[in-house]
Protein backbone atom coordinates (compact mmCIF):
# COMPACT_ATOMS: atom_id res chain seq x y z
CA UNK A 1 0.00 0.00 0.00
CA UNK A 2 1.41 3.35 -0.96
CA UNK A 3 0.84 6.45 1.09
CA UNK A 4 0.30 9.90 -0.52
CA UNK A 5 0.85 13.09 1.44
CA UNK A 6 1.11 16.83 0.68
CA UNK A 7 3.31 19.71 1.79
CA UNK A 8 2.55 23.38 2.45
CA UNK A 9 4.88 24.18 -0.43
CA UNK A 10 2.44 22.34 -2.75
CA UNK A 11 4.44 19.17 -3.35
CA UNK A 12 2.91 15.71 -3.28
CA UNK A 13 4.83 12.64 -2.10
CA UNK A 14 3.96 9.00 -2.70
CA UNK A 15 5.75 6.47 -0.50
CA UNK A 16 6.12 2.83 -1.61
CA UNK A 17 8.25 0.99 0.94
CA UNK A 18 11.40 3.12 1.09
CA UNK A 19 10.95 4.75 -2.32
CA UNK A 20 9.30 8.16 -2.41
CA UNK A 21 8.08 9.83 -5.63
CA UNK A 22 7.73 13.60 -5.47
CA UNK A 23 6.00 16.13 -7.71
CA UNK A 24 4.02 19.36 -7.55
CA UNK A 25 0.26 19.49 -7.08
CA UNK A 26 -2.36 20.38 -9.67
CA UNK A 27 -3.23 23.38 -7.50
CA UNK A 28 0.42 24.53 -7.75
CA UNK A 29 0.38 24.27 -11.56
CA UNK A 30 -2.83 26.29 -11.68
CA UNK A 31 -1.21 29.04 -9.64
CA UNK A 32 1.98 29.00 -11.74
CA UNK A 33 0.34 29.02 -15.17
CA UNK A 34 2.14 27.64 -18.24
CA UNK A 35 5.34 25.95 -17.13
CA UNK A 36 8.22 26.44 -19.58
CA UNK A 37 11.27 25.23 -17.63
CA UNK A 38 12.08 22.55 -15.05
CA UNK A 39 15.34 21.84 -13.25
CA UNK A 40 15.75 18.68 -11.18
CA UNK A 41 18.22 17.53 -8.50
CA UNK A 42 21.27 15.42 -9.43
CA UNK A 43 20.80 11.68 -9.29
CA UNK A 44 22.75 10.33 -6.32
CA UNK A 45 22.65 13.64 -4.43
CA UNK A 46 21.28 13.95 -0.91
CA UNK A 47 18.44 16.36 -0.25
CA UNK A 48 17.23 17.57 3.13
CA UNK A 49 13.62 17.98 4.20
CA UNK A 50 12.27 21.42 3.17
CA UNK A 51 15.45 22.16 1.17
CA UNK A 52 15.46 23.25 -2.49
CA UNK A 53 15.42 20.28 -4.86
CA UNK A 54 14.54 21.87 -8.17
CA UNK A 55 13.06 24.84 -9.97
CA UNK A 56 10.03 25.39 -12.16
CA UNK A 57 9.48 28.48 -14.24
CA UNK A 58 6.31 29.73 -15.84
CA UNK A 59 6.17 32.49 -18.44
CA UNK A 60 5.79 34.84 -15.46
CA UNK A 61 8.26 33.76 -12.76
CA UNK A 62 10.59 31.16 -11.27
CA UNK A 63 9.64 29.07 -8.21
CA UNK A 64 11.71 26.68 -6.14
CA UNK A 65 10.63 23.10 -5.67
CA UNK A 66 11.27 21.77 -2.16
CA UNK A 67 11.59 18.21 -0.99
CA UNK A 68 9.08 17.32 1.74
CA UNK A 69 11.39 14.60 3.17
CA UNK A 70 15.15 13.88 3.32
CA UNK A 71 16.86 11.20 1.29
CA UNK A 72 19.07 10.20 -1.60
CA UNK A 73 17.81 11.01 -5.12
CA UNK A 74 17.51 7.74 -7.05
CA UNK A 75 15.79 8.88 -10.24
CA UNK A 76 14.66 12.05 -12.05
CA UNK A 77 12.00 12.51 -14.71
CA UNK A 78 13.73 13.61 -17.94
CA UNK A 79 10.34 13.86 -19.68
CA UNK A 80 9.44 17.07 -17.82
CA UNK A 81 12.86 18.61 -18.55
CA UNK A 82 12.41 17.91 -22.27
CA UNK A 83 8.79 19.06 -22.30
CA UNK A 84 7.88 21.16 -19.24
CA UNK A 85 4.29 21.60 -20.48
CA UNK A 86 3.69 17.98 -19.37
CA UNK A 87 3.72 19.32 -15.78
CA UNK A 88 0.58 21.33 -16.52
CA UNK A 89 -1.04 18.37 -18.26
CA UNK A 90 -0.49 15.62 -15.72
CA UNK A 91 1.17 16.98 -12.56
CA UNK A 92 0.14 14.27 -10.10
CA UNK A 93 0.90 11.19 -12.22
CA UNK A 94 3.31 10.98 -15.19
CA UNK A 95 4.91 14.40 -14.61
CA UNK A 96 6.57 13.49 -11.31
CA UNK A 97 9.86 15.31 -10.54
CA UNK A 98 12.18 12.91 -8.73
CA UNK A 99 12.34 9.72 -6.66
CA UNK A 100 14.35 9.29 -3.50
CA UNK A 101 15.24 6.66 -0.93
CA UNK A 102 13.65 8.02 2.22
CA UNK A 103 15.95 8.52 5.19
CA UNK A 104 13.42 8.81 7.99
CA UNK A 105 9.84 7.69 7.48
CA UNK A 106 8.68 9.69 10.49
CA UNK A 107 9.17 12.84 8.38
CA UNK A 108 5.94 11.81 6.60
CA UNK A 109 3.96 12.39 9.81
CA UNK A 110 4.14 16.19 9.66
CA UNK A 111 2.73 16.27 6.10
CA UNK A 112 -0.92 16.76 5.19
CA UNK A 113 -3.48 14.23 4.01
CA UNK A 114 -5.36 14.89 0.73
CA UNK A 115 -8.34 16.36 2.60
CA UNK A 116 -6.11 18.55 4.78
CA UNK A 117 -4.18 19.78 1.75
CA UNK A 118 -7.31 20.59 -0.23
CA UNK A 119 -8.60 22.66 2.67
CA UNK A 120 -5.18 24.36 3.04
CA UNK A 121 -4.97 25.13 -0.70
CA UNK A 122 -8.46 26.61 -0.72
CA UNK A 123 -7.77 28.81 2.31
CA UNK A 124 -4.37 30.08 1.11
CA UNK A 125 -5.51 30.94 -2.41
CA UNK A 126 -8.68 32.73 -1.28
Amino acid sequence: MSEVKYSKEHEWIKLDGEEATIGITKHATEMLGDIVFAELPEKGSNVDKDGTAGVVESTKAASDVYTPVSGEVTDTNQMIVDDPSKINEDPEESAWFFKLKIKDKSEMDSLMSKEEYEKFAKETSA
Binding site: G33, D34, V36, F37, E39, V55, E57, S58, T59, K60, A61, A62, S85
Partner: protein, 368 residues
Protein backbone atom coordinates in the same frame (compact mmCIF):
# COMPACT_ATOMS: atom_id res chain seq x y z
CA UNK B 1 -5.83 54.86 -2.67
CA UNK B 2 -8.46 52.43 -3.91
CA UNK B 3 -7.73 50.22 -6.87
CA UNK B 4 -9.28 51.41 -10.13
CA UNK B 5 -11.25 49.30 -12.57
CA UNK B 6 -11.48 49.78 -16.32
CA UNK B 7 -14.78 49.80 -18.22
CA UNK B 8 -14.07 46.18 -19.25
CA UNK B 9 -13.77 44.84 -15.69
CA UNK B 10 -17.02 42.84 -15.82
CA UNK B 11 -16.02 41.41 -19.18
CA UNK B 12 -12.65 40.32 -17.81
CA UNK B 13 -14.42 38.45 -15.04
CA UNK B 14 -16.97 36.97 -17.47
CA UNK B 15 -14.15 35.53 -19.60
CA UNK B 16 -12.34 34.03 -16.61
CA UNK B 17 -9.53 36.53 -16.11
CA UNK B 18 -7.00 36.19 -13.34
CA UNK B 19 -6.89 39.77 -12.09
CA UNK B 20 -3.85 41.53 -10.66
CA UNK B 21 -3.03 45.07 -9.63
CA UNK B 22 -1.01 46.93 -12.23
CA UNK B 23 -0.21 50.65 -11.99
CA UNK B 24 -3.16 51.19 -9.64
CA UNK B 25 -5.64 49.32 -11.84
CA UNK B 26 -7.19 45.88 -11.54
CA UNK B 27 -6.03 44.27 -14.78
CA UNK B 28 -6.20 40.79 -16.35
CA UNK B 29 -2.86 38.96 -16.28
CA UNK B 30 -4.37 36.07 -18.22
CA UNK B 31 -7.71 34.44 -19.10
CA UNK B 32 -8.69 30.76 -19.13
CA UNK B 33 -6.45 29.74 -22.08
CA UNK B 34 -3.25 30.86 -20.35
CA UNK B 35 -0.34 33.00 -21.50
CA UNK B 36 1.11 30.66 -24.16
CA UNK B 37 -2.20 30.01 -25.95
CA UNK B 38 -3.11 33.71 -25.75
CA UNK B 39 0.28 34.67 -27.15
CA UNK B 40 -0.04 32.21 -30.04
CA UNK B 41 -3.61 33.24 -30.81
CA UNK B 42 -2.47 36.84 -31.19
CA UNK B 43 0.30 35.76 -33.59
CA UNK B 44 -1.96 33.49 -35.66
CA UNK B 45 -5.32 35.30 -35.49
CA UNK B 46 -5.97 38.36 -33.34
CA UNK B 47 -6.04 39.41 -29.71
CA UNK B 48 -7.92 42.11 -27.83
CA UNK B 49 -6.01 43.98 -25.12
CA UNK B 50 -7.56 46.27 -22.54
CA UNK B 51 -5.05 49.12 -22.35
CA UNK B 52 -7.50 51.60 -20.82
CA UNK B 53 -5.11 52.13 -17.91
CA UNK B 54 -2.81 54.04 -20.26
CA UNK B 55 -3.09 57.81 -20.39
CA UNK B 56 -4.76 59.66 -23.27
CA UNK B 57 -3.53 63.23 -23.08
CA UNK B 58 -5.09 65.73 -25.46
CA UNK B 59 -3.30 69.04 -25.89
CA UNK B 60 -4.74 71.91 -27.90
CA UNK B 61 -4.19 75.63 -28.29
CA UNK B 62 -2.63 78.17 -30.63
CA UNK B 63 -0.36 77.64 -33.64
CA UNK B 64 2.69 77.91 -31.37
CA UNK B 65 1.82 74.56 -29.77
CA UNK B 66 3.88 72.53 -32.25
CA UNK B 67 7.08 74.49 -31.68
CA UNK B 68 6.46 74.59 -27.91
CA UNK B 69 6.05 70.80 -27.80
CA UNK B 70 9.24 70.40 -29.82
CA UNK B 71 11.01 72.10 -26.89
CA UNK B 72 9.89 69.11 -24.80
CA UNK B 73 9.92 66.12 -27.16
CA UNK B 74 12.72 65.12 -29.57
CA UNK B 75 10.23 64.36 -32.37
CA UNK B 76 9.84 66.16 -35.68
CA UNK B 77 6.36 67.45 -34.89
CA UNK B 78 6.41 70.16 -37.56
CA UNK B 79 6.64 67.52 -40.26
CA UNK B 80 3.86 65.44 -38.74
CA UNK B 81 0.70 65.41 -40.87
CA UNK B 82 -2.72 65.41 -39.24
CA UNK B 83 -3.51 61.90 -37.94
CA UNK B 84 0.11 60.77 -38.22
CA UNK B 85 1.84 59.23 -35.15
CA UNK B 86 5.43 59.07 -33.91
CA UNK B 87 7.12 57.16 -31.09
CA UNK B 88 8.99 59.56 -28.79
CA UNK B 89 10.13 60.23 -25.21
CA UNK B 90 9.63 62.54 -22.31
CA UNK B 91 13.15 63.05 -20.98
CA UNK B 92 14.71 64.69 -17.96
CA UNK B 93 17.59 67.19 -18.17
CA UNK B 94 20.11 64.35 -17.92
CA UNK B 95 18.67 62.72 -21.05
CA UNK B 96 17.06 59.95 -18.96
CA UNK B 97 13.68 58.65 -20.11
CA UNK B 98 10.73 59.67 -17.89
CA UNK B 99 8.31 57.91 -20.23
CA UNK B 100 8.13 56.52 -23.74
CA UNK B 101 5.03 57.54 -25.64
CA UNK B 102 3.20 57.89 -28.95
CA UNK B 103 2.35 61.39 -30.22
CA UNK B 104 -0.38 61.78 -32.82
CA UNK B 105 -1.26 65.05 -34.52
CA UNK B 106 -4.99 65.65 -34.31
CA UNK B 107 -7.16 68.25 -36.08
CA UNK B 108 -6.81 70.73 -33.19
CA UNK B 109 -3.59 69.70 -31.49
CA UNK B 110 -1.92 66.51 -30.31
CA UNK B 111 -2.88 63.27 -28.60
CA UNK B 112 -0.17 61.63 -26.50
CA UNK B 113 -0.54 58.04 -25.28
CA UNK B 114 1.29 57.62 -21.95
CA UNK B 115 2.24 54.64 -19.81
CA UNK B 116 -0.21 53.98 -16.98
CA UNK B 117 2.36 54.19 -14.19
CA UNK B 118 3.77 57.48 -15.53
CA UNK B 119 0.70 59.32 -16.76
CA UNK B 120 -0.07 61.60 -13.79
CA UNK B 121 3.55 62.61 -13.41
CA UNK B 122 3.89 63.14 -17.18
CA UNK B 123 0.85 65.40 -17.09
CA UNK B 124 2.40 67.51 -14.33
CA UNK B 125 5.77 67.69 -16.08
CA UNK B 126 4.31 68.59 -19.47
CA UNK B 127 1.93 71.16 -17.96
CA UNK B 128 4.78 72.81 -16.05
CA UNK B 129 6.78 73.18 -19.26
CA UNK B 130 3.93 74.64 -21.33
CA UNK B 131 2.43 78.10 -21.30
CA UNK B 132 -0.97 78.42 -19.59
CA UNK B 133 -2.65 79.28 -22.89
CA UNK B 134 -2.76 75.57 -23.84
CA UNK B 135 -5.52 73.21 -22.85
CA UNK B 136 -4.33 69.87 -21.45
CA UNK B 137 -6.85 67.10 -20.91
CA UNK B 138 -5.79 63.75 -19.52
CA UNK B 139 -9.10 62.27 -20.64
CA UNK B 140 -10.34 59.60 -18.25
CA UNK B 141 -13.73 59.30 -19.95
CA UNK B 142 -12.23 57.16 -22.71
CA UNK B 143 -11.26 53.50 -22.83
CA UNK B 144 -8.37 52.30 -24.98
CA UNK B 145 -8.53 48.93 -26.67
CA UNK B 146 -5.79 47.36 -28.77
CA UNK B 147 -6.55 44.76 -31.41
CA UNK B 148 -3.41 42.99 -32.63
CA UNK B 149 -2.60 40.18 -35.02
CA UNK B 150 -2.76 39.20 -38.70
CA UNK B 151 -6.58 38.98 -38.60
CA UNK B 152 -6.99 42.29 -36.73
CA UNK B 153 -7.79 44.25 -39.89
CA UNK B 154 -10.48 41.78 -40.98
CA UNK B 155 -12.08 41.56 -37.55
CA UNK B 156 -12.11 45.32 -36.98
CA UNK B 157 -13.37 46.03 -40.49
CA UNK B 158 -16.48 43.95 -39.80
CA UNK B 159 -17.25 46.03 -36.71
CA UNK B 160 -16.10 49.43 -37.99
CA UNK B 161 -16.04 49.33 -41.81
CA UNK B 162 -13.30 51.26 -43.57
CA UNK B 163 -10.57 51.15 -40.94
CA UNK B 164 -8.49 48.65 -42.94
CA UNK B 165 -7.44 51.54 -45.22
CA UNK B 166 -5.45 53.16 -42.37
CA UNK B 167 -1.70 53.12 -42.89
CA UNK B 168 0.75 52.09 -40.16
CA UNK B 169 1.28 54.85 -37.57
CA UNK B 170 -1.73 56.78 -38.87
CA UNK B 171 -5.12 57.40 -37.32
CA UNK B 172 -8.58 58.72 -38.09
CA UNK B 173 -12.08 59.29 -36.73
CA UNK B 174 -14.70 56.59 -37.24
CA UNK B 175 -18.19 56.00 -35.93
CA UNK B 176 -19.32 53.19 -33.65
CA UNK B 177 -22.84 53.06 -32.20
CA UNK B 178 -23.43 56.65 -33.44
CA UNK B 179 -20.48 57.88 -31.40
CA UNK B 180 -17.07 59.09 -32.52
CA UNK B 181 -14.15 56.71 -32.02
CA UNK B 182 -10.52 57.47 -32.82
CA UNK B 183 -8.51 54.61 -34.31
CA UNK B 184 -4.77 54.43 -34.98
CA UNK B 185 -2.94 51.63 -36.78
CA UNK B 186 -0.30 50.79 -34.20
CA UNK B 187 0.48 48.47 -31.36
CA UNK B 188 3.13 46.85 -29.24
CA UNK B 189 3.22 43.18 -30.13
CA UNK B 190 5.20 43.06 -33.38
CA UNK B 191 1.95 42.39 -35.24
CA UNK B 192 -0.20 44.53 -37.46
CA UNK B 193 -2.96 46.08 -35.38
CA UNK B 194 -5.03 48.98 -34.14
CA UNK B 195 -5.67 50.99 -31.02
CA UNK B 196 -9.21 52.20 -30.54
CA UNK B 197 -10.08 55.11 -28.27
CA UNK B 198 -13.75 54.75 -27.34
CA UNK B 199 -16.28 56.03 -24.77
CA UNK B 200 -16.40 53.88 -21.62
CA UNK B 201 -20.11 53.15 -22.13
CA UNK B 202 -19.47 51.63 -25.58
CA UNK B 203 -16.31 49.67 -24.74
CA UNK B 204 -17.96 46.47 -23.53
CA UNK B 205 -20.28 45.98 -26.52
CA UNK B 206 -17.45 46.92 -28.87
CA UNK B 207 -15.22 44.20 -27.40
CA UNK B 208 -18.09 41.68 -27.52
CA UNK B 209 -18.46 42.54 -31.24
CA UNK B 210 -14.77 41.81 -31.78
CA UNK B 211 -15.14 38.48 -29.95
CA UNK B 212 -18.21 37.58 -32.07
CA UNK B 213 -15.98 38.09 -35.11
CA UNK B 214 -13.36 35.60 -33.94
CA UNK B 215 -11.01 37.59 -31.72
CA UNK B 216 -10.13 36.75 -28.11
CA UNK B 217 -9.27 38.74 -24.99
CA UNK B 218 -5.55 38.59 -24.15
CA UNK B 219 -4.00 39.41 -20.76
CA UNK B 220 -0.99 41.44 -19.69
CA UNK B 221 1.10 38.25 -19.38
CA UNK B 222 0.95 37.54 -23.10
CA UNK B 223 1.27 41.25 -23.87
CA UNK B 224 4.65 41.05 -22.10
CA UNK B 225 5.90 37.93 -23.95
CA UNK B 226 4.67 39.39 -27.27
CA UNK B 227 6.46 42.71 -26.80
CA UNK B 228 9.65 40.97 -25.67
CA UNK B 229 9.72 38.76 -28.76
CA UNK B 230 9.23 41.93 -30.80
CA UNK B 231 12.24 43.48 -29.02
CA UNK B 232 10.13 46.31 -27.60
CA UNK B 233 10.91 48.03 -24.30
CA UNK B 234 8.73 48.09 -21.21
CA UNK B 235 9.03 51.31 -19.25
CA UNK B 236 10.21 50.59 -15.71
CA UNK B 237 12.04 47.43 -16.83
CA UNK B 238 14.03 48.32 -19.93
CA UNK B 239 13.73 52.10 -19.76
CA UNK B 240 14.06 54.43 -16.79
CA UNK B 241 15.11 57.86 -15.57
CA UNK B 242 18.80 56.91 -15.72
CA UNK B 243 18.75 55.57 -19.28
CA UNK B 244 18.81 57.67 -22.44
CA UNK B 245 17.19 56.76 -25.77
CA UNK B 246 20.69 56.33 -27.26
CA UNK B 247 21.66 53.84 -24.54
CA UNK B 248 18.33 52.09 -25.06
CA UNK B 249 19.25 51.57 -28.71
CA UNK B 250 16.31 53.73 -29.74
CA UNK B 251 18.37 56.23 -31.71
CA UNK B 252 16.08 55.66 -34.71
CA UNK B 253 13.31 57.48 -32.82
CA UNK B 254 15.33 60.71 -32.70
CA UNK B 255 15.20 62.31 -36.16
CA UNK B 256 18.47 63.78 -37.49
CA UNK B 257 16.75 67.12 -37.98
CA UNK B 258 16.30 67.42 -34.21
CA UNK B 259 19.80 66.53 -33.00
CA UNK B 260 21.14 70.07 -33.31
CA UNK B 261 18.00 71.68 -31.89
CA UNK B 262 16.96 72.20 -28.27
CA UNK B 263 14.61 70.01 -26.26
CA UNK B 264 14.63 68.65 -22.72
CA UNK B 265 17.78 66.52 -22.44
CA UNK B 266 19.17 67.62 -25.82
CA UNK B 267 22.63 68.53 -24.51
CA UNK B 268 23.26 65.06 -23.11
CA UNK B 269 21.88 63.38 -26.22
CA UNK B 270 23.95 65.53 -28.56
CA UNK B 271 27.02 64.58 -26.56
CA UNK B 272 26.12 60.90 -26.69
CA UNK B 273 25.54 61.08 -30.45
CA UNK B 274 29.07 62.45 -30.87
CA UNK B 275 31.05 60.49 -28.27
CA UNK B 276 29.02 57.31 -27.97
CA UNK B 277 27.61 55.67 -24.84
CA UNK B 278 29.05 53.39 -22.15
CA UNK B 279 26.13 50.95 -21.98
CA UNK B 280 23.81 49.74 -24.70
CA UNK B 281 20.59 47.74 -24.79
CA UNK B 282 21.04 44.42 -26.56
CA UNK B 283 19.14 41.22 -27.32
CA UNK B 284 20.32 38.14 -25.39
CA UNK B 285 19.78 34.51 -26.32
CA UNK B 286 20.74 31.92 -23.67
CA UNK B 287 22.34 28.75 -25.11
CA UNK B 288 20.21 26.48 -22.92
CA UNK B 289 16.60 26.45 -21.75
CA UNK B 290 17.41 28.49 -18.63
CA UNK B 291 15.45 31.72 -18.35
CA UNK B 292 17.27 34.86 -17.20
CA UNK B 293 14.79 37.34 -15.71
CA UNK B 294 15.17 41.06 -15.03
CA UNK B 295 18.13 41.96 -12.72
CA UNK B 296 20.17 38.89 -13.73
CA UNK B 297 23.85 39.90 -13.72
CA UNK B 298 25.81 39.59 -16.97
CA UNK B 299 29.51 38.58 -17.03
CA UNK B 300 32.24 38.33 -19.67
CA UNK B 301 34.45 35.25 -20.12
CA UNK B 302 36.89 36.67 -17.53
CA UNK B 303 34.15 36.63 -14.88
CA UNK B 304 33.89 40.44 -14.83
CA UNK B 305 30.44 41.94 -14.43
CA UNK B 306 29.52 43.78 -17.65
CA UNK B 307 25.80 44.44 -17.34
CA UNK B 308 22.32 43.46 -16.27
CA UNK B 309 19.28 41.80 -17.82
CA UNK B 310 16.20 44.08 -17.78
CA UNK B 311 13.55 41.72 -19.26
CA UNK B 312 13.58 37.99 -19.81
CA UNK B 313 11.09 35.22 -20.42
CA UNK B 314 10.35 32.16 -22.51
CA UNK B 315 9.29 33.23 -26.01
CA UNK B 316 6.27 31.11 -26.96
CA UNK B 317 6.60 31.74 -30.72
CA UNK B 318 10.38 31.41 -30.92
CA UNK B 319 10.16 28.46 -28.46
CA UNK B 320 13.29 29.51 -26.62
CA UNK B 321 14.25 31.71 -23.67
CA UNK B 322 14.82 35.33 -24.67
CA UNK B 323 16.10 38.36 -22.82
CA UNK B 324 17.22 41.92 -23.24
CA UNK B 325 19.47 44.01 -21.11
CA UNK B 326 22.28 46.51 -20.92
CA UNK B 327 25.94 45.63 -21.40
CA UNK B 328 29.15 47.61 -21.51
CA UNK B 329 29.28 48.94 -25.07
CA UNK B 330 32.42 46.94 -25.92
CA UNK B 331 30.39 43.72 -25.49
CA UNK B 332 27.37 44.83 -27.53
CA UNK B 333 28.37 43.26 -30.86
CA UNK B 334 26.13 40.46 -32.10
CA UNK B 335 27.45 36.95 -31.31
CA UNK B 336 29.57 38.13 -28.36
CA UNK B 337 29.68 35.32 -25.79
CA UNK B 338 28.39 36.37 -22.37
CA UNK B 339 27.40 34.61 -19.15
CA UNK B 340 24.21 35.06 -17.14
CA UNK B 341 24.22 34.38 -13.40
CA UNK B 342 21.09 32.36 -12.68
CA UNK B 343 20.70 30.69 -9.26
CA UNK B 344 24.46 30.85 -8.66
CA UNK B 345 25.44 29.29 -11.99
CA UNK B 346 26.95 31.05 -15.00
CA UNK B 347 24.76 30.29 -18.00
CA UNK B 348 26.36 30.83 -21.44
CA UNK B 349 24.47 33.13 -23.81
CA UNK B 350 25.03 35.25 -26.90
CA UNK B 351 24.32 38.83 -27.79
CA UNK B 352 21.80 38.69 -30.62
CA UNK B 353 19.86 40.93 -32.95
CA UNK B 354 16.48 42.34 -31.97
CA UNK B 355 13.70 41.54 -32.58
CA UNK B 356 13.60 37.85 -31.75
CA UNK B 357 10.42 37.52 -33.74
CA UNK B 358 10.09 39.33 -37.02
CA UNK B 359 6.86 39.51 -38.88
CA UNK B 360 6.95 38.62 -42.51
CA UNK B 361 3.80 40.05 -44.05
CA UNK B 362 3.11 36.90 -46.03
CA UNK B 363 3.75 34.56 -43.13
CA UNK B 364 5.42 34.68 -39.71
CA UNK B 365 9.17 34.35 -39.66
CA UNK B 366 11.16 33.35 -36.66
CA UNK B 367 14.44 35.07 -35.98
CA UNK B 368 16.22 33.08 -33.26
Amino acid sequence: MSIKKTSLNNLHIKYGAKLVEFAGYQMPIQYKDGIIQEHKYTRSHSGIFDVSHMGQLFISGSDDLTSDLEKIFPADLKKLKTNQSKYSFLMNNKGGIQDDLIITKTSDGFLIILNAACKYNDYKVIKSKLDNQYKLNLDESLSLIALQGPEAKNVLNKVIPGCDSLKFMNGNNYVYNNEKVYITRSGYTGEDGFEISIKHSDAETFVENLIENGSKLIGLGARDTLRMEAGLCLYGNDLDNDTSPIEANLKWAIPKSRIETEFVGSEVLKNQFQSGVKKLRVGIKPDSKVIARGNTKIYNDKNQEIGKVTSGTFGPSVEHPIAMGYVDNSYSTVNTKIFLEVRGKKIPANICNLPFYKKNYVKGEINV
